[in-house]
C-alpha cells in the first residue's frame, strides 16, 4: 500500500518543468511560458486522476514511502487524505491560471519567473502531501525561496520591503515550529528508542498537558502567521499588494490555506488539551480579524489592498470555524478555504487585468468601467458576489456552515461574526459601485479594451467553480467528511482520556519522562 507513484508525479512534474526552463538558452521567453503552462496543466490533469480515484474514507491514500535519511529517521513519505486532496486540487488548478495570466504582464527575466512559479507549485503540493513531519517542514520552508524571489524581483514599488517582511514573519513562526518538531522527535525517541518523524507515529505520542501548551504555541504561531490571524497579519497587505498578479493569486489562494491545513493536521489533533485551553483566545482574535479586516478594507483607496484586507476578514471566518470544532464548522472552514482560494484568486486576476491596461489600481482613477468593459465587469461582479457570500455562490455555503457550527457552541461569537458579513457586503459593493458603475470620469478610461479571449478563458473555470461549489457543495464535502469525522473523534477521545487542564494533572505512562522546555 506504500507504492502509489501518482503523488511523486505531482511533485516531479512542476520541478521537471522548472529544470527544463532553466536549461533553455537565456532569451527564450516563449519556451519558458510554454513549458510552464504545459507542466502545470499536466500536473492539474494528474491531480484530477487523484481526485476521481480518491475513495471517500478517512484513510491516507496514494501513499508512497521510502527511507530518505535513515540515520535521522526522516523518510520520504507522501499520501493524501480527504483534507489534503482538496487543497492539492486547489493548488494545481490555480497554478496554470496564475502562469497563463502572466504571459503578457511579465517581461523581465522571464525564465526565472516561470521557474520560480513551478518550484513554488511543487513545494506547495509537497506541504499538503507530506506524511513525514520533517518532509513537511522541508516543503514548508522550500516554498519561501521562490515566493521571496517572485515578490522581490517582479513585484511593485515597495517589493524589497514586502518580500523581506514576508520571509521574516513566516520564518519567525516556522523556526519555533522546528524546535517543536525536534522536541516531538526527541520525545518519540525517548518513548520508543527510534528516531522517527512519521506523522502516524508522532500522533500517537502521549504528551502531558504542560508540554502540549508549549508545543501548541510553537505550531499555532507558525500557522496563525500563515493564515493570517489578527494580529499576525501585517505582512499580508504588503506582500499581496507588492506581489505580481500570479504571486498574489497563489499567496491568497494557496499559501494562506497552509495555515488552515496546519491547524487541521497538527495543532488541533496533536495538542487537543492545549487547543481547548486557547480556543477562546483564538475566537476573540478571529472576530477581531473579521471586523478589523472589514473596516480597514472599507477605507482602502487601492483595489488590491482592499482585496488583501478582505482576506484577513475571510480567514478570520475560517479560523472561527476551526475553533468551534464540530463537523459543520470544520466542513465550513475547509470549504471556505477553497472558496477564498477561488474567489480571491479570481479577484486578483481581475484586478491584475485592469492594472495591465491602466497601470493603476486606485479606485478614484477608475469608475464607470461597465460602459467600456462589460465582460470584465461581469467577471468582477461574479467574484464580488462570491466573496460576499450571496446564496447560490460558494461563499454562502462556507460562511453559513461556519456560522451554523459556531452558533451551536459559541452563539455570541457567531452573532459578532454576522456583522462581518454585513460589512463585507458594504465594502465590496461600495468598491463595485465606484469602479464599474456611474459615469466615466477619466478620459484614459474611455477606450479600454475588454477582456481578451485568453483572459476570458482564464476566468471561466473560476466562475464555473463559484457556482458549482455554491450549488452542489456536497460534491466537494463528501470526500472530506470522513477525514474530518475521524479527526473530531480522535480529538474528543483524547480530550476525555487525558484529564482536562482544570482537574488533576494527567498520569504519565511509566518509563517516559518529559522535561519542561
Amino acid at each position: 500500500m506504500m507504492d502509489h507513484v501518482l503523488l511523486n508525479w505531482l511533485l516531479a512534474l512542476p520541478a521537471a518543468g522548472a529544470l527544463l526552463i532553466a536549461a533553455a538558452p537565456a532569451r527564450s521567453g516563449a519556451w519558458a511560458r510554454g513549458v510552464a503552462l504545459a507542466a502545470s496543466l499536466v500536473t492539474f490533469a494528474a491531480s484530477l486522476v487523484l481526485w476521481f480515484d480518491f475513495e471517500s474514507n478517512a484513510l491516507f491514500q496514494f501513499q508512497f514511502a521510502v527511507d530518505w535519511m535513515p540515520s535521522l529517521g526522516i523518510a520520504y513519505h507522501v499520501g493524501v487524505d480527504g483534507i489534503s486532496v482538496l487543497l492539492v486540487l486547489l493548488t494545481t488548478l490555480l497554478c496554470p491560471l496564475a502562469i497563463w495570466s502572466s504571459f503578457h504582464s511579465v517581461t523581465k527575466s522571464v525564465r526565472g519567473f516561470y521557474a520560480c512559479l513551478l518550484l513554488l507549485e511543487a513545494a506547495m503540493i509537497g506541504v499538503f502531501v507530506a506524511c513525514d513531519l520533517a518532509l513537511f517542514y522541508v516543503f514548508w520552508e522550500a516554498m519561501l525561496i521562490p515566493m521571496y524571489f517572485l515578490i522581490g524581483i517582479w513585484g511593485g514599488e515597495r517589493r524589497r520591503y514586502a518580500t523581506l517582511k514576508f520571509v521574516l514573519f513566516t520564518l519567525l513562526g516556522s523556526l519555533l515550529m522546528l524546535v517543536a518538531i525536534v522536541y516531538l522527535a526527541v520525545a518519540n525517541f525517548k518513548a520508543t528508542g527510534l528516531w522517527n518523524f512519521d506523522l502516524q507515529a508522532l500522533s500517537q505520542l502521549h504528551i502531558p498537558y504542560q508540554v502540549q501548551v508549549w508545543l501548541f504555541l510553537a505550531f499555532a504561531l507558525s500557522f496563525a502567521i500563515k493564515l493570517p490571524l489578527f494580529p499576525f497579519h501585517t505582512w499580508l497587505p504588503d506582500a499581496h499588494v507588492e506581489a505580481p498578479t500570479a504571486g498574489s493569486v497563489l499567496l491568497a489562494g494557496v499559501l494562506l490555506k497552509m495555515g488552515v491545513y496546519g491547524f487541521l493536521r497538527f495543532a488541533i489533533p496533536w495538542f487537543p488539551l492545549a487547543f481547548a485551553q486557547f480556543a477562546p483566545v483564538l475566537i476573540v482574535l478571529s472576530l477581531t480579524g473579521i471586523l478589523y479586516g472589514a473596516i480597514v478594507a472599507m477605507v482602502q483607496k487601492d483595489v488590491k489592498s482592499l482585496v488583501a484586507y478582505s482576506s484577513v476578514a475571510h480567514m478570520g471566518f475560517v479560523m472561527l470555524g476551526l475553533c468551534a470544532l464540530n463537523l459543520q464548522s470544520l466542513s465550513g472552514s475547509l470549504l471556505q478555504s477553497l472558496n477564498h482560494g477561488v474567489t480571491t484568486g479570481m479577484l486578483f486576476l481581475v484586478v491584475g487585468m485592469i492594472y495591465e491596461r491602466r497601470h493603476t489600481r486606485q479606485i478614484d482613477e477608475l469608475g464607470g468601467l461597465f460602459a467600456v468593459m462589460p465582460l470584465w465587469t461581469t467577471a468582477l461582479i461574479i467574484a464580488t458576489l462570491g466573496s460576499i457570500g450571496l446564496p447560490g455562490t460558494n461563499g454562502f455555503v462556507g460562511e453559513f456552515l461556519i456560522l451554523l457550527g459556531t452558533f451551536k457552541v459559541h452563539p455570541t461569537a457567531a452573532a459578532f461574526a454576522t456583522f462581518g458579513i454585513v460589512l463585507a457586503a458594504v465594502y465590496m459593493l461600495w468598491m463595485l459601485q465606484r469602479v464599474v458603475f456611474g459615469k466615466i470620469t477619466r478620459t484614459e478610461n474611455e477606450h479600454l479594451r475588454d477582456t481578451s479571449a485568453r483572459e476570458g478563458l482564464l476566468l471561466v473555470p473560476l466562475i464555473a467553480l463559484i457556482f458549482w461549489m455554491g450549488i452542489t457543495p456536497n460534491a466537494f464535502l463528501g470526500k472530506v467528511t470522513p477525514a474530518l469525522e475521524k479527526l473530531l473523534g480522535e480529538v474528543y477521545a483524547r480530550q476525555t482520556a487525558q484529564a482536562g487542564p482544570s482537574s488533576e494533572p494527567p498520569s504519565e505512562p511509566a518509563g517516559i519522562t518529559y522535561e519542561q522546555p
Binding site: A26, M69, P70, S71, L72, G73, S109, A134, Y137, V138, E141, A142, L144, I145, Y148, F149, G152, I153, R159, R160, T163, L164, V167, L168, L171, L172, L175, L176, L178, V179, V182, Y183, A185, V186, F189, G193, L194, W195, E515, P517
Partner: protein, 480 residues
Amino acid sequence: MSSPDLNLAAFLPELLLGAAALVALLSGALSREARFVGPLSSVLLLAAIVAWWQADPAAVSFGGQYGGDGTAYFARGLFLVTALVLTFLAAGGRALVKARHAEFLSLLYISALGMMVMSAAQNFAIIFLGLETMSIPLYVMAAYERTDSASIEAGVKYFLYGAFASAFFVYGMALLFLSAGTLDIPRVYAAAHAPVAITGLLLILVGLAFKVAAVPFHMWAPDAYSGAPTLVTAFFAIAPKAAGFLALVRWVATANHVAGSEGTVALCSALAFLTILGGNLGALVQSRLKRMLAYSSVAHAGYLLLALVAPDSGGTQALLFYLVAYAVMTLGAFVVLLVYERDGGAATYDEISGRGYQRPALSLCMTVFMVSLAGLPGTIGFIGKLQIFKSAVLSGHVILVIVAVTGTLVSVAYYLRVVVYLYMRGESDRALTASPRVWAVAALLLAAGTVILGVFPEILWPALASLGSAGSVDSTWAGP
C-alpha cells in the same frame, strides 16, 4: 624510562604536508616565478591524503600522545583537503600574491600542519605547539598585501590578539601542570576538582575561545577578516575555527572529568548564548560584506558551541558534520566574492547590486550559499543545524535551541540582504573582468555539494557519525 614508540608511519600525512611546505619554500628561493610549485606541492598533498585515507584511525604516534581517535582522524583529513583546495584557488589567484606565490603556499601548508597537530594531539603541550605553528603563518598571511595598510593592520591586530590568547593558554597549561603533574589529557583527569587545575582549564578555554572567535573574545575577527586578502580571509574563516573547535572537544572531555559536567555545560551554554546573539546582531548592522561574513562566522561558532553543550547526545557527531557544512558553504561564498572583487570591487552591499544579472550562474551559487548559511532546508546548512538542535534538545537544552533559532531568524535578514542586492536593485553597470576559471569551477562544485549533501546527507553522515563516536561518545544514541 624507555623511549616511547614514535610510530612515524601513522604520522606520514603530516610529514608529507611538512615536505610540501619545505619544497614550496625552497622553490620560492630558487626561482621567483616558481610555476611548478603549485603542481608539485599538489602531488605531495595528494600523497598525504592517500596516506591519511589508508591510515588506521585508531593508530597512535609518539607514545599515545598523538591521534588515535575518530576526531583526530577527521581533523587530519579536513585540513589536508582544505590545504589542497586552497592550493587550487591560490593558483587561480597568482596575481593576488604576485611573485610571492611559493611563499604563500608554504605558509598555508605550515599553518595547516599546525592545525592537524593542534586537533589530533592528546596532550595540551602538543596542542599548544600546533596552535602556535598554525597561528604564526596566519599572522603573516593576514598582512600579505604589504602595500595595503588595511592588510598590515589586519596582520598586526591578529598578531596582538593572537599573542594575548596564546599567553592565556600557556598560563593555563602551567597551572594545569602544577596541579596534575602532567599535560597528557587522559592523565590530567586524575586532578579532579583541584581548584588550580580548574583555573588552568578556564584560562585554556579563554585562549581557545579567542581562536574560534567566540563572544566576548571575538573583537579581532571583523578587522582581521576585512583587512586580509579575501583568499586568506576564506582560509581564516574556516580552518583555524575548525582546529579550535576540535581542540575544544578535548577540552570539554577534560573539563567534564576535572571540573564536573555541570560547570562545563553551564560555561559552554553561556558562551554559545553570547556568541549566537553577538555574532548575528553584529552581522546585521554591517554594511561591508567581509565584515558581515566575519560576524556570521562568529555566529556559526555559536551554533558549534551549542554542539559542545551536548557531546554525549550526539553533539560531537553534529559538530563534525557542521564543520564540514560550514567549510563548504563559507568557502563557496568567499570564492564568489573573489570573482565579484575582480569585476570591480565587492567591499559593500552597494557594490554588488545587480550582479545577479551580470553573472547569473555564480550569483545563483551565491544565493545557494546564503540560503545554506541561513539554514533553510534543502541545503547542508539545514542538516547541520538540525543535527545540532537535535542533540541539544535530547540533552534538555530547549531554551538554548530557541535562542539559536532566534539568531537564525536574524541571520536570514542579513544573508538575504546579499540576495536582495544581487537581484532586486536594478542592473549592474560594472565591467566584467575575466576571472580564473578555477574559481568558477570551485564555486559551482561547492554549490553542488551544498545542495547534494543537503538533500542526501547520508553520503557523509554515517562515516562522520562513526568518527565522532569512536573516542569519547557513547555510540548507542544514533538510532537505526
